[in-house]
Symmetry: C2
């Protein structure tokens, strides 16, 4: 039996918020009303033009007052200040969720800010693009992608089920995870690789000859550093809100790099070969395991 979620407010009508609006409206048509909230008027107009929201407003209090469920789809560091503003305006039984990339920080901060009669169910859709903004919003952005929920142990189960139901309308695959585990795993598989890619680009500052470097780049460099072209604001926020796991992950990464550098200096071909062959085996294994887990190649979030 479905819960009756007839009014949804989305704060932040960019790529994620806009795509959520499009997907919910496509699935529900008149059965669920979507209010799009943003500080940018042009974004709001485009959101309504594209059909990602029925009602648009720049007024937070007005926008959330009647909502059964509120999605916070802003950069991570804007989430907590926004929750402080909207907390007094939310109605009894309202369900709050967000789409931030880091979860423990938000869970700690937000839980204490909300009245008892509002339920918070943190979320993280594994769907991104290099492009951002309402223009890049896509009704199928979440389709068949993982959408992680990290509800705290004491959360209202009906609230979690309601979030599952709404996320289900987007076609995403829902999975539940502990927030701390989420942050550790994400640091290793996403945040550290991101920083590594950016560092590889910045390393070229040491090259005396950019023209020669470009001729020597081949295709590998473009792929390896693709994610270094992402939004700097978003990534700075991620680093600030998942500092412990990321910094520890970077230390371990440095350790691996130091070990292989030492082996190279010592002309220790066996260790160096083992380093490469282990990576090749592990990556091939991961790709296989991923296909088994998701039925899709790992590139689905591209």
């Amino acid at each position: 039996m479905g819960l009756n979620i007839s009014r949804i407010a989305i704060i932040g009508m960019g790529l994620i918020g806009g795509s959520l609006g499009l997907a919910i409206k496509a699935a529900r048509e008149e059965k669920t009303e979507v209010t799009g909230i943003d500080t940018n008027e042009l974004t709001l107009v485009k959101a309504r033009q594209r059909g990602a929201a029925d009602i648009i407003t720049a007024d937070l209090a007005e926008g959330v007052a009647q909502a059964d469920m509120i999605f916070l789809c802003t950069p991570v560091l804007q989430v907590v200040p926004l929750v402080k503003k909207i907390a007094p305006c939310l109605k009894q039984g309202a369900i709050l969720t967000d789409t931030g990339s880091t979860k423990s920080y938000l869970l700690e901060q937000i839980s204490s800010l909300l009245p008892e009669y509002v339920h918070y169910v943190p979320g993280h859709p594994m769907a991104g693009r290099e492009k951002s903004g309402i223009e890049a919003a896509d009704v199928n952005l979440f389709h068949n992608k993982w959408y992680i929920l990290t509800p705290p142990a004491d959360v209202n189960r009906v609230a979690t089920d309601a979030v599952r139901q709404v996320i289900g309308w987007t076609g995403a695959q829902i999975t539940v995870m502990d927030a701390v585990k989420h942050d550790w795993c994400t640091a290793l598989i996403s945040h550290v690789p991101h920083i590594g890619a950016a560092a590889l680009v910045n390393l070229l500052a040491y090259s005396e000859d950019q023209d020669s470097s470009i001729k020597l780049a081949g295709g590998g460099f473009r792929d390896t550093t693709r994610i270094a072209s992402s939004n700097a604001d978003m990534w700075a926020d991620i680093c600030m809100t998942n500092a412990g796991p990321i910094a520890d992950g970077l230390d371990k990464f440095n350790q691996l790099i130091s070990e292989v550098a030492a082996a190279i200096r010592q002309n220790d071909r066996r260790t160096v070969h083992n380093f490469f062959s282990t990576a090749k085996e592990r990556r091939d294994e991961l790709l296989q395991l991923e296909q088994a887990v998701t039925g899709q190649p790992m590139s689905n979030g591209r």
Copy 2:
């Protein structure tokens, strides 16, 4: 006026050697005879079947005896032992070239092994694939790719021109570079990124939960680590023959990672943001500059 290169021997009929043979035969038909040399009989049979060689042999001395030009297309560490074997068999005025990814090491080692009447012109085609072997050989592998030559200052100019002429038959864009500069630039733009990608995969050994990591991977991880699935033997050889620039590059890379880790721990958002925005700007600039230099996107070696 073209030089008369009527007999070419290719040692190592894998992806690179096989593709060279295909391209030379396609351009020259009966005007240049190609001898394919390999220790693997099946590779040789396939090379002839595919039209990458007119004559095939596993006998080095016989294969190179009549050649005007000899291409060494084996893994880097096999090049020097092979040169020792063939040096006494080469005819007066023969031109030797190779396709190894590191150049200073080969230049130092090989120059002293050759008789005065043999000319060595080191080369490095910027064309690779994840697949290897004669099956992956492609007549267009070098077409519009950079092909670097690193001739020593005292090399016979006629010999360099002859190598340019033959490489020209493959449709590659030829450029000349100092061997030491080649090795430094390649370390920064190719070798260090390769090791970084492999280290990012190996880092996942620290993850307690592989299933969760996979769900959280998104598309970035696959791209960033794609080159970690390359041939471990080839990369171990590259590290052994370009140890200095690679190890120094890794040290600098580690330094960049340490600095950003420290900024993250200190909650220094400005430094972290600057790290990401510099990388984004530099990468976008590189891609633009690359299009200007080559008229092609950086992914052409994919």
